[in-house]
């Protein structure tokens, strides 16, 4: 026996074992009862074709006309076909720019001159009682704003010198200045913002949106994730996972360097026809499996194979930013060939232009504790601001001039805020100026998608410690995003483990005041 034959035999054995694992007691009993009849029937019906596998529409173009009541696993679930929202939508697409690590609102948008007066003084006991911080211990010193602020545009929004480009488009933005959360560590806080729960296992916002709306471009995934290279978000890939939703709705992570998706090229010696034939064969086997076991994940798998096949052409084409004209590259400040945020921002525009529903960008390095120069509020933080300032501004303006900002919602923010106190890790002075994680107040801004322009909602107290009006939570933000996409967050549910689940759990209120 040659080694190849041995290998094949091993594969066969593996497949047999996989099948055996799926074979439950219920199947056995069913087979006992009906097996002999089925044997005979099978030979009668062989010529009739497989009528039962019509549910395997996958992404093959059939528009699921009525998505029906959400929550019932029927009606096009598991398919990426476009579906209509509950009520007429103001936004059709979302670009979420998540600054993982949590940027300091006190150096960017939440100007607190009174904090300057307190700079260097001990933090009053009243602010520390009953509080728990990630790293601050004992009595920390207050830290005044480490930036110069100016009021910008007609709206008079305060934006610091760290984002000089963004400052010029202040009148396009809507600030939520009194965001709060209840998670003071990165991973749970990121999960809360993106999935509506600080624990693992819930579908991410992008998954919910693609589950609700499908994708308008059948050659591209509905939900694309781009990371800036370097570190991954602390919460890992779960923040773009599909949780209990069928896995076709999970975020497709595209690399911004090299092949956008690993192994997207056909292997050597295999042309596209053979690839198609092999995928068809695999899908046929899978369809038979689905008829046998009824596991919806098999349908997901079939849809994903088909999607992958289409993506082989469409993704490299869409992800190739080199065919953008030079002035666009200059506008975004891209660095072709590198994995960087600016390239991803340009990609995000290309993706939404092609009909991708939800583009999720993760940047990293915003965790300005002051433990090293890169994480210092007056060194590394400023560099981070400069890295994103130009490209984010370009994105808003580029979407605007193409008429896309009309129905594309852009969100920029972190998972929590930073303290008005200087961090003293374990009670000792940090080598650089830095701020600890702060759950009670942070700033998120939104633009486009039917949100008010040049508007600020919510205020914090004079040192930016607590909200005093217009307090909002990640649930409110999620409810508002869904509302703009045409969904009532309280009715948009999925039946799982015997009860309907929603993105906002039992919380959240649409922030009506910011809707244009």
């Amino acid at each position: 026996m040659t080694s190849k034959e041995l290998h094949n035999q091993r594969l066969l054995k593996e497949a047999e074992q996989a099948v055996t694992r799926m074979y439950t007691r219920r199947h056995f009993l069913q087979d006992c009862a009906m097996g002999f009849g089925a044997l005979a029937l099978g030979s009668f019906l062989q010529s009739c074709g497989r009528g039962g596998s019509s549910g395997v529409a996958g992404g093959s173009g059939g528009v699921a006309g009525g998505a029906g009541g959400f929550g019932s696993p029927a009606g096009g679930v598991g398919s990426l076909a476009p579906r209509m929202p509950m009520f007429p939508a103001r936004a059709k697409r979302v670009i979420y720019l998540h600054m993982a690590g949590a940027p300091s609102q006190l150096e960017l948008f939440d100007y607190k001159p009174a904090l300057q007066q307190l700079d260097g003084q001990n933090c009053p006991q009243s602010l520390l009682e009953g509080k728990r911080f990630a790293f601050i211990r004992g009595v920390p010193k207050m830290l005044g704003p480490q930036a110069h602020f100016q009021q910008r545009g007609e709206s008079g929004a305060w934006i610091s010198e760290h984002m000089p480009h963004l400052a010029t488009i202040a009148d396009e933005l809507c600030f939520l200045k009194a965001m709060t959360t209840d998670q003071f560590n990165h991973a749970p806080a990121q999960l809360l913002v993106q999935t509506g729960s600080p624990r693992l296992g819930r579908p991410s916002m992008g998954s919910w949106v693609t589950y609700g709306l499908g994708t308008e471009n059948e050659n591209l995934p509905g939900f694309v994730v781009l990371t800036s290279g370097g570190k991954f978000p602390d919460a890992g890939k779960s923040i773009w996972g599909s949780g209990f939703l069928p896995s076709v709705y999970q975020g497709v992570q595209c690399r911004s360097e090299g092949d956008p998706v690993l192994f997207i090229e056909d292997p050597q010696g295999m042309d596209r026809d053979i690839r198609k034939a092999s995928i068809d064969a695999i899908n046929k086997v899978n369809e038979e499996e689905h008829v046998k076991f009824g596991d919806p994940e098999i349908l997901s798998r079939i849809a994903q194979y088909e999607m992958a096949y289409k993506m082989q052409v469409s993704v490299p084409e869409t992800m190739n930013i080199n065919d953008e004209p030079a002035y666009i590259h200059e506008m975004y400040g891209t660095q072709p060939g590198k994995a960087c945020f600016a390239n991803n921002v340009l990609l995000a525009r290309r993706l939404v232009e092609k009909g991708v529903r939800f583009v999720q960008l993760f940047d990293w390095g915003w965790d300005s504790h002051g433990t090293e120069a890169n994480l210092a509020i007056d060194v590394g933080f400023i560099n981070k601001c400069r890295q994103v300032d130009r490209s984010v501004t370009a994105l808003i303006l580029d979407l605007k001039q193409r008429g896309l900002l009309e129905d594309t919602l852009v969100i920029w923010g972190g998972e929590f805020g930073r303290t008005p106190m200087m961090e003293n890790r374990d009670g000792k002075q940090n080598p650089f100026k830095g701020r600890d994680h702060h759950v009670d107040a942070f700033t998120v801004w939104m633009a486009g998608g039917g949100i008010k322009k040049g508007f600020s909602y919510g205020e914090t107290d004079e040192i930016g410690y607590y909200p005093i009006s217009g307090k909002t939570t990640p649930f409110d933000l999620q409810a508002t995003i869904l509302n703009q996409l045409g969904f009532d967050h309280e009715k948009f549910t999925y039946q799982f483990q015997g009860r309907p689940f929603r993105l906002t759990d039992v919380f959240g209120k649409v922030i009506e005041d910011i809707i244009a």
């Binding site: 173009g61 059939g62 528009v63 006309g65 009525g66 998505a67 476009p82 579906r83 209509m84 929202p85 509950m86 009520f87 007429p88 939508a89 103001r90 000089p164 480009h165 308008e216 471009n217 059948e218 002035y327 506008m331 400040g333 092609k354 009909g355 120069a373 210092a376 007056d378 060194v379 590394g380 400023i382 560099n383 400069r386 300032d389 130009r390 501004t393 370009a394 303006l397 580029d398 605007k400 001039q401 193409r402 008429g403 009309e406 650089f432 039917g450 509302n483 045409g486 009532d488 649409v510 009506e512 005041d513 809707i515 244009a516």
Partner: protein, 474 residues
């Protein structure tokens, strides 16, 4: 907070306790009915004991009910009807019970008594329900009036509206009257006339003129919905933020009962809410329900679009579907499918089509012959198509148009100037077109009220784009 006395506690058990006689007596009646059949005859033996339990629980309910009646402030007329009906019910049930113990539950009188018990049970139960949930509880569910519609009737000119009569009163009526109105005065509070509002409830005044923040009325509404003291109570219809802003504004301005809106100063905060009360402003005060959405689709209903045309478009890979569930208005997105031949299909959807995206679909001016007939269109995207001035002029027929995207077409300034400007146009995108700068002022004059975007934004080169901050050494 005051402590409940023991009698209060017992009295408060009444709403829970009343369900016992309702259930037990109903079971007795069902048994009575069944036992007349031969098959279930044996059930008859259980009737006396079930009836006895029902009568005992009814007596208990009557006692607790009477205690509640003395300690609470329900609508007097309603409550006394409830009481007398309950007493009658108890006596009739007792009579039936006594009959059944002597084995005469199935004679003619027994049956009449049974029917009477059922009737009284229904009436008493309904009256009780009306007391706790308000009299419009049932009828409200029928006509759907309890949700979805705007609380405050829209007015033609909000500045001329009387603040109290047209704005404040309707909000109080929906949010408060069911418990603090003429029929019921929970906590001794009545809010349906100026004198009663000024008087306050048994814990003191609820409104401090000029100080919304110190007014109990506002404070209670601002508490989290889960708080026991929150008003209106959890599960009842809540006021929106806009409505609360208006209420606070009215109190801050002195809680005057006669003035008109224009006579009061209007801070920036309440302007959107005020404007939302005006007819046709498109803004609403409700909770984001479809009817409150800005005019994305026309208000009037439309019949469903031609199924064949929709199927034809879909078969070619075009996304064609209703803009929302329960709506017949359609959005059609060619999503890059090159389908000039498909455009005529739109003709049979012309009444329903409100959003059309032909970007990159390889269509030209001839397609506009069809598009111009789709007069319901509100959003049209023609970017990167072969449309020229000839086509754009035809689009003047689309008077409902809100957004027109001509990015990347060969449209010129002359062409646009000869177009009849749509009345409600709010955005016109002209990036990468052949519109020259000298036409700009004229175009702005023609398309009044619309934002014209020429695009071509350039970001200046700043030192900060490339400079990197480093730690100062030393």
């Amino acid at each position: 907070m005051y402590l409940l006395t023991i009698t209060d506690l017992i009295a408060h058990l009444h709403p829970a306790l009343v369900h016992l006689p309702i259930g037990i007596l109903l079971i007795a009646l069902i048994l009575q009915l069944l036992a007349t059949k031969e098959k279930f005859h044996s059930l008859g033996a259980a009737i006396p004991i079930v009836l006895l339990a029902g009568v005992l629980s009814a007596v208990l309910s009557c006692i607790t009910g009477f205690m509640l009646y003395r300690s609470s402030d329900y609508d007097k007329a309603l409550v006394s009807w409830h009481m007398w009906m309950a007493l009658a019910l108890t006596f009739m049930a007792f009579a039936l019970c006594a009959r059944s113990f002597s084995g005469r539950a199935f004679d003619r009188t027994g049956k009449w008594l049974g029917a009477g018990v059922l009737l009284l049970l229904t009436i008493t139960g309904h009256l009780g329900g009306s007391l706790t949930h308000g009299e419009d509880y049932l009828s409200g569910a029928l006509d759907g009036s309890s949700e979805g519609v705007s609380i405050v009737p829209l007015v033609a000119n909000v500045q001329e509206a009387a603040v109290y009569d047209s704005i404040v009163k309707p909000m109080l009526a929906v949010g408060c009257y069911s418990c603090h109105g003429s029929r019921k005065q929970k906590g001794g509070l009545r809010l349906d006339n100026p004198a009663a509002i000024a008087k306050g409830g048994k814990d003191g005044i609820v409104l401090v003129a000029g100080k919304a923040d110190s007014s109990e009325l506002i404070k209670r509404m601002l508490l989290p919905e889960s708080d026991d003291h929150h008003m209106p109570p959890k599960g009842h219809r809540q006021l929106s933020r806009g409505q609360m802003a208006l209420l606070s504004w009215w109190i801050d301005q002195g809680a005057d009962y006669t003035k008109r809106v224009k006579e009061l100063p209007q801070p920036e905060k309440v302007r959107p809410a005020l404007l939302g009360l005006q007819k046709g402003s498109g803004l609403g005060l409700g909770s984001g329900s479809p009817s409150d959405m800005p005019a994305v689709i026309p208000e009037e209903a439309v019949e469903p679009g031609d199924k064949k045309a929709i199927a034809g478009l879909r078969a070619a890979g075009v996304v064609a579907m209703p803009v929302a569930q329960n709506s017949n208005y359609l959005m059609v997105n060619f999503s890059g499918v090159r389908g000039a031949a498909l455009v005529p299909l739109l003709l049979s959807l012309r009444k329903q089509l409100v959003q059309l995206d032909l970007s990159g679909a390889g269509v030209g001016d001839s397609a506009m012959e069809v598009v111009k007939k789709c007069v319901a269109l509100r959003y049209v995207n023609l970017s990167n198509t072969g449309v020229t001035d000839r086509g754009v002029v035809m689009l003047g027929d689309l008077q409902e148009l809100r957004v027109l995207n001509l990015v990347g077409t060969r449209v010129t300034g002359e062409g646009l100037l000869s177009m009849l400007p749509p009345k409600h146009l709010h955005a016109l995108y002209l990036y990468h077109t052949r519109v020259e700068g000298r036409y700009w002022e004229k175009l702005k004059g023609l398309f009044k009220g619309a934002v014209l975007d020429s695009g071509g934004y350039v970001l200046p080169k700043l030192v900060t784009d490339t400079a990197v901050v480093r730690v100062k050494v030393g």
